[in-house]
Amino acid sequence: MECFVYRLKIGLLFIALSLTSQFCKAETCVTTASEFEQKKDQLPKIFQNLPVMLTTDSWLLTAGLEIRTVGPKIKLEGHVWKPSEIYSDDSYVKKICYDGTNFNVTLENGKSYDVKIKSEGVSISGFSFEKSSASVFAGIVEKVKKAQSRSNTTVDNSANGTR
């Protein structure tokens, strides 16, 4: 009986410790460009120097994202070309938090979403993006703009996604 109680205590202690470590997992949050500079060492390597460009280019999705600073603010710019949509947008960031695994991005308009960090890029809404150079990003932006001017709508009527 004593042995059982001892094992139970050890078990409970173990559970308590693992729960504590989960709750105490340090989260790094940045709201401004200067805060980003101060805390960038706590962020994944691919995000330690802004601007960061992320791209993907396949028959299903051509897209480019850029994260950059605008004065004291952080801004996101995105260009997307999928068979059913062609769209460009930019938004200012209110807060970006990193929990050691993923980013949570909150925009000034209140929208919030998760960005999964991978070894050489990220995954957003199930789509993978790789870290890219400024020239690759510029090429993707040009490709999306051309597709948009061809189709002249948010719907890709021209080529059913053919690149």
Binding site: V70, D89, K111, I124, T154, N160
Partner: protein, 178 residues
């Protein structure tokens, strides 16, 4: 491969390569011109930067200039009002872009104008001071039609001329919800 598997395969293929206009949803509005609506449903990346009231993108099919062709559509289901005024308009703009006193986009003007179809329409102009901004100016229109409260956002790559802004107002005035 049996017939069932084959038919499922061809159905999937058909859906994937089906003509894109089939993906466009029915527009929430009628207008005095040809329009097309792309709803945010199942478009994983279309609404990623938009606030929760965003419902899709309206395209004016006969307009060539891109800044006048596409407008973001917002539907404010929680807003219960029967008359548009400047306070409600500001509240809806805050829901769309974030609180005006805190956000980076700067409000440069707010104006009410009359529409024969939807009473008072409010227009708020927001400017992005970022030199590399994709859109220098956003024109937010809020109005109530058929007991529904809508917001429409036109995004201008360049600050529009008065004539272009007026053309856009004329289009908005002619909208009516189903």
């Amino acid at each position: 491969m049996n017939k069932l598997t084959l038919s499922i395969f061809f159905c999937a293929l058909g859906l994937l390569f089906s003509s894109s206009p089939c993906l466009a949803k029915k527009s929430p509005f009628t207008a005095g011109e040809d329009i097309e609506f792309l709803g945010k449903e199942d478009k994983a990346l279309l609404d990623i930067n938009k606030s929760t009231a965003f419902s899709g993108v309206l395209t004016r099919k006969d307009v060539k200039e891109s800044d006048q062709r596409m407008l973001d559509v917002y539907e404010f289901s929680a807003a219960s009002a029967n008359k548009m005024d400047k306070d409600l308009c500001q509240k809806l703009a805050d829901q769309t872009f974030g609180p005006s006193t805190e956000i980076s986009l700067k409000t440069t003007s707010q104006e009410l104008f009359a529409s024969p179809r939807s009473g008072q329409i409010c227009e708020i102009i927001l400017r992005d001071e970022d030199e590399r901004a994709l859109f220098k100016e956003r024109h937010f229109f809020a109005f109530i039609t058929n007991n529904k409260t809508f917001g429409l956002v036109a995004r201008f790559h360049k600050v529009p001329t008065k004539e272009k802004a007026k053309e856009l107002r004329t289009f908005i005035k002619n909208l009516r919800a189903y």
